[in-house]
């Protein structure tokens, strides 16, 4: 009998492709035979732009990579530059960074659970998760001045100390969050429809996941015990104790469970970090790199000259190359910077987790029904902002 496949185009405006992802799918009836992702619809050339911006000026560009987790992107970038410059940052700044990146993990995972559930048909979770996300967004606005494009971390520390009442706001999120997680679990974990759509869907074995370079919750869902926060600590993560959840069945449901436990662990890290938060400076004493305090600028000529020097030329970085990977909510986010000794990177390369995770989509969805592809996209938790950069 003659077999003919049908080519279907999904995206770039499809509501469940999480942005402007375009997939060209070859179908045999309803069964997926081949998936070709077409990316680049959101390309803004951040890597190239950074070659023409000083190290300082690139920070707001990194907000816009994974726009659901801006603080994590900032952290990866500033850590890379700090490593290149050999700067030690004050303990308070480090702790505040940990608190904020863990809140960012909650924020990113909330969007994941919201959209993943909405794609599969559970609209209620979407509404509830966005309600909780709003709390984190308001904290973002209070601390950095913007709900999404935070631009709060600086090379050498933070742009400003936390606002009055920060501890109270964080405590409120920490206290209420486990209850909200129970709500989502009550709606999904034992729900028959949810189980039928996720159990056995998008299976990828541990070997295949490692071969494809998958990182983050998607890798841990396949049973690989790998978390950069524990295995290659940065920003003082070695001081906190937390569990790294792993799945067993390598399917969408296990990745769902892994992310939910990760959110609970994030709460525990925030609690530990809040206890460790001590008063102190939030910007390193590095006059070559950091702005002087504003009162020096307004009141002394030395301060003014110093301020002009940093603002007009930035700072030169020593010649060399540096790579810094962090455990962003979606996986390993790496910044690779090559410096030729100038005040701008010679080349900056971003290793976005979503880009690498997306490459496994064919392996995960081949042989499944086309309707299950939506669940696979949801479980990969991709963001096109960082795929296309």
């Amino acid at each position: 009998m003659n077999k003919e496949t049908m080519t279907v185009n999904m995206g770039p405006q499809h509501p469940s492709t999480h942005g402007v992802l375009r997939l060209v799918i070859e179908l045999d009836g309803e069964i997926i035979e081949k998936i070709t992702p077409h990316i680049g619809y959101l390309h803004r050339g951040v890597e190239k732009l950074s070659e023409h911006r000083t190290y300082h000026q690139t920070i707001p560009l990194t907000d816009r990579l994974d726009y659901l987790a801006p603080m994590s992107n900032n952290l990866g970038y500033v850590l890379a530059v700090e490593k290149l410059m050999g700067i030690e940052i004050p303990e308070r700044a480090e702790t505040v960074r940990v608190i904020l990146t863990e809140l960012t993990r909650l924020k990113s995972h909330l969007v994941w659970i919201a959209c993943h559930a909405l794609d599969i048909g559970a609209m209620t979770v979407f509404i509830y998760a966005f309600r909780e996300r709003e709390k984190v967004m308001q904290l973002y606005e209070k601390i950095s001045g913007a709900r999404m494009t935070s631009n709060y971390f600086r090379v050498g520390g933070l742009s400003a100390d936390v606002y009055d009442g920060f501890e109270k706001d964080v405590q409120e999120i920490v206290d209420t969050f486990p209850g909200h997680l129970d709500t989502y679990e009550g709606l999904l974990t034992k729900n028959t429809i949810w189980l039928q759509r996720t159990v056995g869907n998008g299976v990828i074995s541990a070997e295949d996941a490692i071969d494809a370079g998958i990182t983050g919750p998607a890798l841990r869902g396949s049973g690989v015990d790998w978390d950069l926060r524990r295995d290659n600590p940065y920003s003082g993560y070695e001081k906190y104790s937390f569990k790294v959840p792993v799945g067993e069945n390598c399917d969408t449901f296990d990745r769902y469970k892994v992310r939910l436990i990760e959110m609970r662990e994030a709460i525990s890290i925030i609690t530990q970090a809040m206890k460790a938060l001590k008063p102190g400076p939030v910007l390193a004493d590095e006059p070559q790199v950091c702005y002087p305090p504003k009162e020096n600028v307004y009141n002394s000529i030395e301060g003014l000259i110093h301020h002009f020097k940093i603002a007009s030329e930035g700072f030169p970085a020593p010649e060399g190359e540096v790579y810094q990977g962090i455990e962003a909510p979606k996986g390993e986010l790496g910044y690779y910077i090559v410096s030729d000794g100038g005040n701008k990177p010679y080349r900056m390369r971003v290793r976005p987790p979503s880009f690498v995770n997306l490459s496994a989509i064919e392996k995960m969805a081949k042989g499944a029904m086309i309707a299950d592809l939506v669940a696979v996209i949801g479980t990969l938790d991709i963001v096109l902002g960082e795929i296309d950069r």
Binding site: E141, G145, Y163, L304
Partner: protein, 132 residues
């Protein structure tokens, strides 16, 4: 099989009696944080803009959206003869405010910047001056 679905419905049903969190936006305005990075403003002191046209803000701007041209007034003082910010290019990072050495530039709580013409988004010095 049906029990988890009923439990889920219970959760949804209990939300009926909780307070609604939706902000009825155009009628109700949100309370914006003091650090909010909204529309820029040129601060005024002694009836003139504090800006001394030092060109730090256009230098530090990652989006290159600020145009400054210096002029000289009757007392031979330097001032900004032209000061324009193109809000269509601005990314509201706040670096210009951070870079200002004389505290002449600020960011307001104003976030409703929609307009009809592209030219309306280029804010001239008159439009940026602090309202008192």
């Amino acid at each position: 099989m049906i029990v988890p679905l009923i439990k889920g419905l219970q959760i949804t049903f209990s939300h009926l009696f909780k307070k609604a969190v939706t902000l009825q936006y155009p009628e109700e305005k949100p309370v914006v944080a003091p650090r909010f990075r909204g529309l820029h403003t040129l601060k005024v002191s002694h009836n003139s803009a504090k800006c001394v046209a030092c060109y730090l803000c256009p230098t530090v701007c990652p989006a290159k959206c600020i145009t400054v041209e210096a002029g000289e007034d009757a007392n031979h003082e330097k001032f900004a003869a032209v000061y324009e910010i193109d809000m269509l290019r601005c990314i509201f990072c706040g670096f210009c405010v951070e870079a200002c050495p004389v505290d002449a530039l600020g960011m307001t709580q104003e976030f409703e910047l929609a307009n009809y013409k592209r030219t309306d988004f280029v804010f001239s010095k008159e439009r940026l001056l602090e309202k008192r």
